[in-house]
Symmetry: C4
Subunit: 241 residues, 4 copies
């Protein structure tokens, strides 16, 4: 059962350690705001730490959050251990949970990156609704792991594929499609959401942030490549796309 | 009657509380400067707090303002309670007042965002002088409320419409057209000004800032979409625009 | 005669007042670096304060300067009152002096803004070597004064013209062309240098910075307009440019 | 032989002097992260200080490094004097060494700048695999020295040439091609790596950073020029490229 403002509840989020999840989420989101990923209260971040899941609330300015804004959920019971009374839980929660339960992730980041959104529009135009984003022979691909249970990262010569799911009116209604994309792409660490943004996860905070930065770099370069008439893959090069 | 440097006047703007309107305007404008919204002394911000209206002055570097630079006006009499002698009142004042009186806003933000300006030029070219900016099926639309007196925010499937008014030689001469646009678009929380920028407001500072960020995000994506040949709405998609 | 490290020389640049020219130049250049105007040790800034001219040195990282890096020159004799021994005087010095002596400026800013450089290339392609940059009906034009000895600023309906001079191998060799441009455009507060950047000045630091920001905003919007096929002036609109 | 956590090892990296190489690398990388050069743990920096080579580790978030993360190598024996046990040495190490040994560099910077990557793609499309990036008549060219053992910097009228090598699956496998490019272009201070980034070096930290900033500025302008249909050299202008 949720305890809201008791000292036990406070102890879940108050720590002098900058690496404590409640502190880390605030620090990460300040950085993400500067990158334009979580403006307008959009986006969110969640960290699993042992049996506790820390989640940034809904509808708050992500660059101004403080640790006491965090929701804390029990990983096993999925019940809130801490629920700040003035705030709403994030609509991203079931999507974060999918990363934690289906993939064993330690951190999941959701951004509204403009580059991610533009990629979903460019892929839609050229490949129809079922396509995924594909790029190859870019050094930053090496920042993405091969897949759960596999050793090491993608090679420069591997083709990176990020599935794209259709957006829905309610964020929580994305859950089924996100889980389906995880099943269809068992090695992926990210899912793009059409006209919306991206969910990226990793085994821990360091890896989730790294993968999110690598992907966003690739999305930005890919948008610029499209402006300059440069193909994303050799196949499309051969096809004259 | 305005008292300029008396202690009573100082008390209107001096507070240790970072949420005090005089402090908030300075903090907001420092952030807006980093976003390129208020460079060259352009733009401005005003907050209504109970019966007091706080307004950033004209012609100052918005990223360097201090609380004692603020003008304070009585909401009912529209007389200045505080008028810093070395400074000029903002030419945006009657436009801010329109947001406060016609819409019951708690905060109004005026930016010279380049994306907003480019949107007004792109709409003009394609739809003539009476058009508004229209976009649909973008997640960030959900950051904009449905309208005054209506519950909740726009849906992902709603079409966002932001009216555009023609610029005038004097900023205060925009007032009539802005009020007319408010009448013509009773649900809008923003008005674009051709070749100039945007006025956005909200029930409070949090909402005005959030809405301003969501709109600017949409303007920036929309400009990039135009460069990439992507349509803003399904209708224009069908028309091959 | 220059005194290099004497206490008299130190007193010219050491002050606890953040508005002291030696402090202001350092603070301005830190901001200009963040805007991309003075990277790679490029660009510079000079302030005239009564009979003293403060000048940032050549070849230093502009975002890391400290007050003791400043050169100080006597306005009347043009002799250095302070010459840091380890540093070279700025090759921009005769150009800064032109702004101070021919225009009575209080501050002159030289940037390598990429937008300014692109503008000089776009004008060259379309109008040949003698052309100036012209834009009209943009709100930010109102940030530029009408001209020396004239009251007030340009109107929204005025056409802004910024002359462009050809670059030379040595920065100091630009002086004659810059002074000629000042003569040919008696109202201008700025001169663009082809494939190089811009010199902007103003009656004081506040005005020079404001004008530099307004112009850079206009250059950036104008480059984006060109990418989007939007004309800079009504005349070019009529001509279908 | 490497001593890992002894006090002797700590003394190699702990200093109150902000100019100490271990402190400088951390400070530089924080700035490079803000420029988008080393996101996603990409890129790296190394400084030679007398007989010691300081190298940022592999796979860490470059904006969060602390001095104790640094590897230290003996310049003559190429053995590690300090090897933080939890970290991996940088795969860039043999490339940094090439700059130190073949060019006598004091600092080598490796970035994943998107502008550099786009340049390698644009050159590939137009000139085939053996081409180098060429640009002329840009003021920022003057930030690049003429070559090892030569006095002064390139002139505004000189053509800057930066060789491009093909990327390999493993970073260390770039070494041979990088050294070959150094031999083929005896005056160059930088080598672009296709679809990857750039290695830039200089006689000291100041020069390496300056040259890296000048080159990145030129790459960014050159990408924008391509979008606007502007040629990089007069030859390509004459050819109508």
């Amino acid at each position: 059962m949720a305890s809201d403002s008791s000292s036990a509840s406070e102890q879940l989020v108050l720590s002098a350690d900058p690496k404590h999840p409640a502190n880390l989420i605030c620090e990460l989101c300040r950085g993400f705001y500067r990158l334009g990923w979580v403006t307008g209260t959009g986006g969110g971040t969640s960290i699993r730490h042992h049996d506790h899941i820390y989640i940034a609330p809904s509808g708050v300015q992500k660059e101004m959050m403080v640790p006491t804004d965090m929701f804390v959920m029990d990983f096993h019971s999925k019940e809130y251990l801490r629920k700040p009374q003035a705030l709403k839980p994030s609509a991203c929660t079931p999507l974060f949970l999918a990363a934690f339960t289906k993939r064993g992730a330690g951190c999941c980041i959701h951004t509204h990156s403009q580059w991610a959104v533009l990629i979903t529009l460019l892929v839609e135009r050229e490949s129809g609704p079922d396509a995924c984003f594909e790029i190859e022979q870019m050094e930053m691909i090496k920042g993405i792991p091969k897949g759960p249970g596999k050793q090491g990262a993608l090679s420069y010569f591997d083709r990176l594929r990020i599935p794209i799911i259709e957006n829905t009116a309610q964020e929580e209604d994305l859950t089924e499609a996100l889980e389906q994309a995880m099943d269809n792409y068992p090695d992926t660490y990210a899912v793009l959401v059409r006209r919306h943004g991206i969910y990226t996860w990793g085994d821990n905070v360091h890896k989730a942030k790294t993968q999110c930065e690598c992907l966003d770099y690739l999305f930005q370069v890919a948008v610029e490549m499209k402006k300059l008439g440069l193909p994303w893959t050799n196949a499309s090069l051969a096809d004259g796309l």
